[in-house]
Symmetry: none
Subunit: 115 residues, 2 copies
């Protein structure tokens, strides 16, 4: 009924949810740990996590009494591809972005020093 892009973009529109995604970029986390840095209730964070899950941006797996949250970048990639179709991004130089990523993803010993 509703385009997956609806739910993905709607999920990304909230700063709390984007912050959660950034946290999960570094490591998988339990719900309680996700909630810790925020000033809202655990229930509120739990709702944010189900929204992210339904959007396909994360997956949740229960092990014991702990539910682990894991980034799932596929849905974001779909949205990203949609946005690319507005491709006149010339000024922002996706080329140099790719070079940046290549650098970042290279094995550590091939990386040029940045400091």
């Amino acid at each position: 009924m509703s385009d997956p892009l609806d739910t993905v973009f709607a999920a990304l529109a909230d700063p709390t949810r984007r912050a959660i995604l950034s946290m999960l970029l570094e490591d998988d986390m339990a719900v309680t740990d996700v909630a810790e840095p925020f000033q809202m209730s655990l229930a509120a964070i739990s709702k944010h996590l189900t929204i992210l899950t339904r959007a396909g941006l994360i997956t949740q797996e229960k092990r014991g009494r702990v539910k682990w949250c894991k980034l799932d970048p596929d849905a974001m990639k779909a949205a990203s591809v949609w946005m690319q179709s507005f491709g006149q991004f010339e000024p922002v130089n996706l080329d140099s972005f790719e070079r940046f990523l290549e650098q970042e993803l290279a094995p550590p010993d091939t990386k040029p020093l940045t400091e």
Copy 2:
């Protein structure tokens, strides 16, 4: 007050607004012409257009009694770059990603040459 990403993603979350953006990809259009293919009132489309404008996704310029709508890909670019960071997994160094963004989003005359 609110992160520009909030308004950009929120604007993109509505299918009508995404359709409008796709239409504007082909050519600039007057408000009435934007509204024509949709089954909702002109006033509704007008609201959608102000949301897109506030998000920075389009610009509107009035000439005579006609208001022309034009795609403005800069805001989308910022959102797109934000999303790119999730496409590739773990090893992305967020610190240097931020440095990259500062560089990219800086005024052109302050940018170091990349070629």
